[in-house]
């Protein structure tokens, strides 16, 4: 299977650096997640991958345009067209028509649970349904590379499960899928995760591998000994120490959220030290 991706990419908007030395492989048959908060550089990376932005430095491997499916963070649907019209419009752009269109759109809408609302205007769909329609539009021409920009943001937990099922199914059929998300649990569920912070790689790898490679240890405590290295999880605090846990009962096995917070705290301390 072909692997797409970016290598050593810098992106600049005028004097502002949006991405610095970012690399990501997006192979077929798996879901790759790009995680970060607003302004971390997720959309810029995806737009770079699909060819909407040219990097200042670095290389991009992408299939030809007809083999890319791209769903922007605005879902890419036309609100004043019905579900069916949205599908037909995009199908015509890809030269899909007749029996092939009927079969493909029938299958996609069915999987997405949208068959019953094909005459409804996209603007009248719930947020979750509209995102699922956006997914169907991006998948309509069965692309080799599927790029989804925050498909699940603002989508409720129940619709999120359904959307994730559609995404995983595309990957199970061999498509190279890359999705941006602000949810770390979605990153943890992907086969590979890249966490961005201020345009730079913060964490990258298979979720289980990056967690087991984490140095130091995390304990769960009622009151942190070193508040600079502690953060709230529920009623208690999690606290990071640079040394391995020596078999204490308070030691916990961290999740991706813990790991990302530790890395962000480290960067913060480095920045502060550099300023001094």
């Amino acid at each position: 299977m072909t692997t797409f991706g970016v290598a050593g990419v810098d992106v600049e908007f005028g004097s502002r650096r949006a991405l610095t030395d970012v690399s990501l492989e997006v192979p077929g048959g798996r879901v790759t997640a790009v995680v970060g908060g607003d302004g971390a550089g997720k959309s810029t990376l995806l737009r770079c991958l699909v060819g909407l932005i040219e990097p200042a430095v670095g290389t991009v491997r992408r299939p030809r345009k007809a083999q890319i499916g791209y769903m922007p963070s605005t879902s890419g649907t036309w609100r004043e067209l019905s579900v069916r019209e949205n599908i037909e419009f995009v199908a015509h752009a890809h030269g899909i028509a007749g029996a092939k269109l009927a079969a493909r759109s029938g299958q996609l809408l069915d999987r997405a649970g949208l068959s019953g609302v094909s005459d409804r205007l996209a603007g009248q769909l719930s947020g979750g349904m509209r995102q699922k329609l956006g997914f169907c539009l991006a998948m309509l021409h069965d692309p080799e590379l599927l790029v989804l920009d925050e498909p699940s943001t603002g989508v409720d937990a129940v619709s999120r499960v359904e959307l994730w099922r559609l995404i995983a199914q595309a990957a199970a059929h061999g498509t190279a899928v890359v999705m941006a998300t602000t949810y770390l649990d979605e990153g943890e569920r992907a086969a590979y995760v890249l966490v961005l912070d201020r345009g730079r790689e913060l964490v990258a790898g298979e979720p289980t591998a990056v967690l087991s490679a984490m140095d130091g240890s995390i304990t769960q405590v009622a009151r942190p000994g070193a508040p600079d290295w502690a953060w709230r999880r529920g009623g208690a605090f999690h606290e990071w120490r640079p040394v391995p846990a020596a078999g204490e009962a308070s030691a916990i096995s961290p999740d991706l959220e813990d790991l990302v917070i530790v890395q962000m705290l480290r960067r913060e301390h480095e920045r502060r030290a550099a300023r001094r």
Binding site: D38, D156, A157, A172, A191, W231, G234
Partner: protein, 288 residues
């Protein structure tokens, strides 16, 4: 929890819009110092319920009490509210926003007492300071008058993990000092930050209690198959709630027997076992 400490109470509250009941027969109580999570799908009635609790929307039937009385201008002063859209004025500066909210709530606010991040951009328009700082501003404005009850609608959407942890630090610190907090979120990880959860679906409360109580003995079936793609396909085509974590498949609201039959028919060998459900999976099964 006793009635003496209840900051907000909803009794058998219903709100209709025409024939449509957005909220139906809902009871709710928020006590001092507790963090209550209000969860549910879009359209489940969460925001309508919040608006009634705040006194922004009349109930069709039932009753709402804030600090032991009907919602009024006087109770509004004891409340802090951060709406989904943050509710700050984009065309006022940060300083003007702070002074405006302080004046409206009769609070005494000094620039020096504001977080450093806000003091740095004091004279810039709130519309031009970036989402992270705008969120900080919305919280500062909602907290300046030391409210007894804090209502947060989707406070952390789009926030990076460290900023989210810090925001929860603030929220829990206020709770530790006695503020009651009602928070809605789609980010189910945050359910762990709440003392109690209330789950709504189609206008009604479908579950309530601690996270462990809500999940209860709801189970999920875990499927491990060498040809996981074929297993995943067969189960999704059967219309089941299938999720994929790496290569591990999970199916909510199903049974080992049901899945074994589907996978047998598809000729996919797999190992099946039952495990405790996640909150997300539990919510998917609660919606009806």
């Amino acid at each position: 929890m006793t009635a003496v400490t209840a900051l907000a109470t909803a009794r058998r509250v219903t709100r209709r819009f025409g024939d449509f009941a957005a909220v139906e027969d809902v009871a709710l109580e928020i006590g001092a110092g507790e963090v209550v999570g209000l969860l549910g799908a879009n359209g489940a009635g969460k925001t309508t319920l919040i608006r009634m609790l705040l006194g922004l929307l009349a109930v069709s039937s039932g009753s709402v009490e804030l600090f032991g009385g009907a919602p009024s201008r006087a109770t509004r002063r004891r409340l802090g509210y951060v709406p989904q859209g943050l509710g700050v004025w984009s065309d006022l500066t940060v300083g003007e926003n702070v002074r405006f909210f302080a004046a409206a709530f009769g609070a005494d606010v000094r620039r020096a007492a504001m977080p450093a991040g806000l003091a740095e951009v004091w004279d810039q328009l709130a519309g031009e300071i970036g989402l992270g700082r705008r969120r900080q501003l919305a919280f500062a404005c909602a907290l300046a008058h030391a409210p007894e009850l804090l209502v947060l609608d989707e406070p952390t959407s789009g926030v990076d993990p460290l900023a989210r942890a810090r925001l929860w630090d603030d929220v829990r610190e206020h709770a530790d000092r006695g503020t009651g907090v009602l928070v809605t979120t789609h980010y189910l990880e945050e359910a762990h930050q709440c003392d109690r959860l209330i789950i709504m679906a189609a206008g009604r409360v479908v579950a309530r209690g601690t996270l462990a109580e809500v999940i209860g003995d709801t189970r999920t079936v875990r499927v491990r198959a060498a040809s996981w793609q074929r297993a995943f396909d067969a189960l999704s085509e059967a219309g089941l709630l299938v999720t994929l974590t790496g290569r591990e498949i999970r199916v909510a609201a199903s049974s080992v027997a049901q899945l074994a039959e589907i996978l047998d028919a598809a000729g996919v060998p797999a190992e099946l076992d039952e495990v405790p459900a996640s909150l997300e999976e539990t919510m998917s099964t609660l919606r009806d």
